[in-house]
């Protein structure tokens, strides 16, 4: 079966993020970028399923600026067979992503879409769910396990209270949680091979979708600085402070 995975290009998680001086967003120019870690887990999962003989082809999609080609090459070095870049210089918001992906899914007809549960830049946690809704497909978000059997799949979801096991029909959209797998190190021969794999670049117009932002960012600012701590005399004072000052219990 064919699988479609997504790979978003984000600021490297180890980079200290800085707010732009005009408050319009965060600084991304000349900053180390990388594949969203949850997307990496999605790609890894698809590759493992291909190695296990469950999947026959892996198509990886990225949406964003021209440099997302690097992210696609990384995914192809991990084992994806070909890449599609929906190239846009605009800010991409979850609904636009879901619409673009829907257009690609309509064309590619994969039996499974694996996405990261969220991207570590905006932490929206919406695109996967929106895509499933637009497609009218079953969805399972935050999975930590998946086993495909015939026309369905058994999945384990990480939920607040623990784990939830579900059977879903395919085609479906799933999104990955941290415990699903540990992505591999890309091998040197595969980096070399990835250069030769097909990478298609599409403009949103060609997909017939309107990707223009629907949300307006009013202002981005640093979180408030953490104040100095205080020593408490005893447990009683601690509980009282937690209750009355911090209001967390």
């Amino acid at each position: 079966m064919k699988v479609l995975v997504t790979a978003k290009r984000v600021i490297d998680p180890y980079v200290k993020v800085r707010v732009k001086s005009d408050g319009s967003g965060v600084e991304t120019a000349n900053i180390k970028m990388t594949m969203n870690p949850f997307c990496e887990i999605a790609v890894e999962q698809a590759v493992r399923m291909k190695e296990a003989g469950v999947v026959s082809e892996i198509v990886v999609v990225s949406i964003g600026a021209q440099q997302c080609q690097e992210t696609l090459r990384t995914a192809m070095a991990m084992g994806a067979d070909r890449g599609i870049l929906v190239e846009t210089a605009d800010e991409v918001q979850p609904l636009a992503v879901a619409k673009a992906l829907k257009a690609i899914v309509d064309k590619e007809q994969p039996k499974l879409v694996i996405m990261g549960k969220q991207a570590i830049d905006d932490d929206c946690n919406q695109s996967g769910q929106m895509l499933a809704a637009l497609l009218g497909w079953p969805q399972a978000a935050f999975i930590s396990n998946i086993a495909v059997n015939g026309d369905g799949a058994e999945v384990t979801r990480e939920i607040d209270g623990g784990l939830e096991k579900l059977s879903i029909r395919l085609p479906a959209v799933v999104t990955t949680d941290l415990r699903l797998n540990e992505p591999r190190y890309v091998t040197l021969p595969n980096i070399m091979k990835a250069k030769k794999k097909p990478l298609e670049i599409i403009k949103p117009d060609a997909l017939g979708v309107d990707m223009s932002p629907r949300l307006t960012t009013l202002k981005v600012q640093e979180p408030a600085k953490r104040g100095a701590g205080v020593k408490v005399a005893d447990v009683k004072e601690l509980v009282s402070k937690l209750k009355n000052e911090a209001r967390v219990i």
Binding site: E70, Y185, L188, N190, I191, K195
Partner: protein, 595 residues
Amino acid sequence: MPTYTAPLKDMQFVIRELAGLDEIAALPGCAEVSADLVDAVLGEAAKFAQEVLDPLNCSGDKQGARLAGGKVIAPDGFALAYKQFVAAGWNGLSGQTAFGGQGLPHSVALPVQEMWSSANMAFCLCPMLTAGVLEAVGHHGSAAQQKTFLPKLTSGEWTGTMNLTEPQAGSDLSAVRASAVPEGDHYRIRGTKIFITWGEHEMARNIVHLVLARTPDAPEGVKGISLFIVPKFLVNADGSLGERNEVKCVSIEHKLGIHASPTCVLAYGDDKGAIGYLVGAENRGLEYMFTMMNHARLGVGMEGVALAERACQFALDYAKTRVQGREIGQRSGDRVTIIHHPDVRRMLMSMRAQTEAMRALAYVAAAALDKSKLHPDEKQRRRQQALVDLLTPIVKGWCTEQAVEIASTGIQVHGGMGFIEETGAAQILRDARITTIYEGTTGIQANDLIGRKVAFEQGATAKAVIAQMRGVVGDLDQQPTLATMRTALVAGVTALETATDWLVATFPAKPAMATAAAVPYLKLFGTVAGGWQMARAALVAQKQLAAGQGDAGFYRAKIASALFYAGHILPQASALGHTVINGSASTLALDVADF
């Protein structure tokens, strides 16, 4: 303890702008070496270095390799890391494609090695030595030897070692005594080799030793040494492993640094003699060693760059966190991190400016090495060969000597904590200390430089390099903001030129006087060549800033490093030049008997 982060931005800048990636990509067989590919390779290698090798650096130092029941056991985690290293295909980076390698040029391989060495130098020595065997057997081995040994050495399934040194034969290999007696299609090897890096271990299924030894009627001295392949396990005709050969690790050394890398005493042939296979022709062993010397020596120079970089990162991290004293001129108010103190900034700048200069010179030499091998034009190949021959002893000698100083300055930035092992700063100095010794001491590099590389050709290549430096001085004329660099570079180049003339004139008539000045001359050349590269870097940065292109912060910092180099490092050239020309008499004033 801080963690190592690969300085990808500077590496990419140097590869692209100073070493000239475009020219490398235009060489035959390098069409794939695009900026994209280099970025991808460096990026993934950085990840591996940071996540797999760096975490084992300090633990490996603390635990060390050990000998137990005839087996050498690497520190915890090393065998697994080596397995991952091989599985990820890194061992085959520059190996020939015919044997499963990726055939990438030195211009890519040496920067990747920089990251392995920064992250974990003791580990990196193992694949570095394998690379040496690959190169030697790849150039001089028979087709059958290549077929038997190269695929597994390329993948890393087997590792390699270099066996030159014996107790009485270190810098002077003419004293090698190990013997090789012909017997059918092979030889029987006997003798003791010392200081053999990764000479025995359990991380790979087989170890392929390259051994220098003498055949029964070999002439005396360097012209009577042959090169042999001596595998730890003999290899059957079908490629499977056969009997254990007669080579044994009898002890491993207790040493100052690179504790995780076993330094072995290997005993060959305590019964019938170890089975060895002659590489190439008899008596040409040293000559074969010389063909791979540039690569091996650049590799050790790169270790200097790598450890200097690690020292910079550790010192910077500490300087940004350690709070001590107040801002200069303030009597009250908050105490500040030590990076606010001008002298700490001076130390950090000097570490950084020199490391950048060293990296630039090493990568430029790597590019020359590639061009010397691959350039389609014969004349260019010869010119590049002369250039890399000249630069190699400088990169090896100068980058490693500076690395020791930089690592020492790194400790100084830490204050008392630098002297305490827990910060990791001390380990960098201990590890760096070997780099000026093995693969030819600084003294040996300097002798090679002044003799074979300068005096023997009347300074022709050195003068060509000096002309290129003057070209850069010309480019600086139009840059008022780089005026201090121009002045310093002019003075440095003049000192180098004068010293070169003196050397060429003095060497034939008074070789002892010339040789007494060898190391000061090597340091002079390194200092000025580093300034030359920093000037080139500053010019690129200035141009990019003027065009409003790229990462302005990076370019401004590059110019700051270059101007620091001009103000603090380049002026040393004039003093070194003075020492070269006037210092030898005092060096030799006392007779041996007077000491």
